[in-house]
């Protein structure tokens, strides 16, 4: 009998049964999340199933953010925000306001997710929580609405694809480049119904904000979850966020002889910065193939790369310079605390001086409704996760996806630029400021 993957161990633990990939379980859910877009339908389901005496099974771990249409971009959005506020008020859920940040970032910063937690969110990027060693997955409103009442949900135990990266990442190559490469290799649906487990010495060396990038974009290859086995670095990070050091349960570590559906192995030194061309994340190519592509707008933000460390990389590249003529840059911090760090460290000033626009924390133009949407023919280079047709506005606009370093370098020239052409600070240079671990 071979060993078990993280998913098999974690779902065995949460269901109280000894299960393997392919089994169906009902498992105890630790944290539940929804937001201003998926919230209202979720609340309807919750109220439908709870009858006369509606009660949240775990209000302390029921989190609702207002981040997608924040601040409200229309009356309908504003009304939805009020529905969220009223629900949270009535049932005692943990509610975060306009400007507090993107759901996935808020849950991590506020310490809702601990290693080994089973987390569901009515948002497809709920895979993000695997960056701190949780099993995070996106679900529908019926799933979430019923779980708010019962605390458990059915799951099929997924098979696992393992991605191993050994060695040291070269200059200019970040977690974003790794995940774009993985997605390009297995394809847009290459991990459907499955978990992506990330490991190897290069992944172990990644700080948490970079591991979150790998987990966040697991969904772009169809993944049900994307997990990095939690370690001391994870515990350090969460202790710094919350003041409490979490335990690392044994069931979060895969067996050496775990039964993976496939193992993809990479040598870090051979990797280069990647760019996904329009209009699918799986169109990943080495940056040199698209160098020189004209860019109208640069977008720095989202639950993928809107953390302080990401924004700081861009700021370091453009510091003291102006954006290239005929380009605009929109920066949207992932949370209020990121916004605050930008103010405290002078990063805000760098952007304003360079001619960029800095918005309040939230999803921004990521899904194309406000705060910098694209018009016909516009070409955008974004630190985001999706570049489907029309994702950031017009069906006739185009979005390229890349790392913050590539976006920063490209801002100087107004065209896609190899980040290795400019002087880059690695995040190691400033984690000592206490903003990352």
């Amino acid at each position: 009998m071979t060993g078990k993957t993280i998913s098999e161990k974690l779902l065995s633990e949460k269901s109280g049964r000894d299960v393997r990939a392919g089994d169906y379980v009902e498992a105890a859910v630790d944290v539940m999340m929804t937001h201003d877009v998926t919230g209202p339908l979720t609340f309807e389901v919750f109220e439908d199933v709870t009858g006369d005496d509606p009660e949240l099974v775990d209000p302390d771990n029921t989190v609702i953010t207002i981040d997608h249409h924040a601040p409200a971009d229309g009356v309908e959005a504003a009304n939805n925000h009020n529905i969220v506020r009223e629900f949270a008020d009535t049932y005692g859920a943990q509610q975060y306001e306009v400007g507090d940040g993107i759901c996935h970032q808020v849950l991590v910063e506020e310490g809702f997710v601990s290693p080994g937690d089973l987390v569901i969110g009515a948002d497809s990027h709920s895979t993000t929580f695997g960056g701190v060693g949780g099993f995070g997955t996106g679900v529908g409103s019926t799933d979430l609405g019923t779980t708010l009442a019962t605390g458990e949900l059915w799951f099929r135990v997924p098979e696992t694809l393992r991605f191993e990266v050994e060695g040291d990442l070269p200059d200019g190559v970040y977690a974003k480049d790794l995940i774009l490469k993985f997605i390009g290799d297995v394809g847009f649906d290459g991990c459907t119904y499955k978990t992506a487990e990330y490991g190897g010495s290069a992944v172990e060396a990644l700080p948490i904000h970079e591991r979150l990038v790998l987990s966040n974009m697991a969904i772009e290859m169809g993944g049900k979850a994307g997990i990095v086995a939690p370690d001391e670095r994870t515990a350090d990070f969460l202790e710094a966020q919350t003041g409490e050091r979490p335990a690392i349960p044994a069931y979060t570590q895969p067996d050496d002889d775990a039964d993976y559906e496939a193992v993809h192995t990479y040598q870090a030194e051979s990797l280069s910065p990647q760019v996904s061309t329009p209009s699918n994340p799986e169109n990943a190519v080495p940056v040199d193939e698209v160098v020189g592509t004209d860019i109208d707008q640069l977008f720095v933000g989202t639950c993928t790369n809107g953390r302080y460390e990401d924004i700081r990389i861009v700021a370091d590249v453009i510091e003291g310079e102006r954006l290239a003529p005929d380009t605009r840059m929109v920066v949207v911090p992932a949370s209020r605390s990121v916004y605050k760090q930008m103010m405290d460290t002078g990063v805000m000033e760098t952007f304003v001086d360079a001619g960029a626009i800095v918005q309040s924390a939230g999803c921004g133009s990521c899904f194309g409704t406000h705060q910098g949407v694209l018009g016909d023919g516009d070409v955008c280079l974004a630190t985001a996760n999706r570049n489907f047709p029309g994702r950031e506005g017009s069906m006739k606009s185009e979005v390229y996806l890349a790392s913050p370093a590539t976006v920063g370098a490209s801002a100087l020239y107004g065209e896609i630029t190899d980040p290795r052409e400019v002087e880059l600070n690695r995040y190691d240079d400033y984690v000592l400021e206490g903003v990352g671990a």
Binding site: Y24, E26, T38, L41, E44, V45, D48, V49, T50, G51, D52, D53, A122, D123, S124, G138, V139, G140, S141, T142, D143, T146, A149, T150, W154, R156, D189, T192, Y193, G222, K224
Partner: protein
């Protein structure tokens, strides 16, 4: 026999008309975004496949089936898509493969979803029926029978009860 959200009995063993579609039918094609202002099954049903196949909604009858190719229901996690098909009167969906969240949503709503590698042998307009427990699709027009993946016991029990809402109500004693 199940009592689905749409408030009508579903019996997949009764033959119904097959409405066939190709690969990669995404949730936008099933129910375009502009109709998402409602979550009422009947109202959504009136707009199912509105742009892709305008003759679908006016002509579909209770007890008909939708047949898809690969990756049926891809795209956003909007639950309005399977709700609209239930509302239109569809008793089940057969496809060569489904996108993950659509499959989940179908089960949760009590809408039978069956994976059948031979779904492409079904022609539009054929009379078909589904044997969920055995895992089979019967094509009455062509007089053929195709193997399908039977639903795992747990999922079958969810569908039998009409989906996750009735299942949860039973659990909570709020029926």
């Amino acid at each position: 026999m199940t009592d689905a959200d749409a408030g009508r009995d579903i019996d997949t063993t009764e033959p119904g008309r097959a409405w066939t579609f190709g690969d990669d039918i995404d949730t936008d094609q099933i129910i375009p975004s502009r109709f998402l202002v409602s979550s009422d099954p009947a109202e959504l049903g009136e707009h199912a496949f509105n742009d892709l196949r305008p003759e679908f909604a006016p002509n579909v009858a209770d007890g008909d089936f939708v047949v898809g190719g690969h990756n049926f229901g891809s795209g956003s996690s909007r639950e309005h898509a399977p709700i609209s098909l239930l509302g239109a009167g569809i008793d089940g969906i057969v496809a060569q493969s489904f996108a993950r969240i659509f499959f989940r949503n179908g089960i949760n709503l009590g809408l039978p979803v069956l994976i059948c590698p031979d779904a492409d042998r079904i022609d539009d307009g054929d009379a078909i029926s589904l044997r969920l427990d055995e895992g089979a699709v019967v094509n009455h027009t062509a007089d053929e029978r195709y193997d399908a993946d039977p639903l795992p016991e747990f999922l079958q029990s969810l569908v039998d009860r009409g989906g996750l809402e009735p299942y949860t109500r039973a659990k909570l004693g709020t029926e």
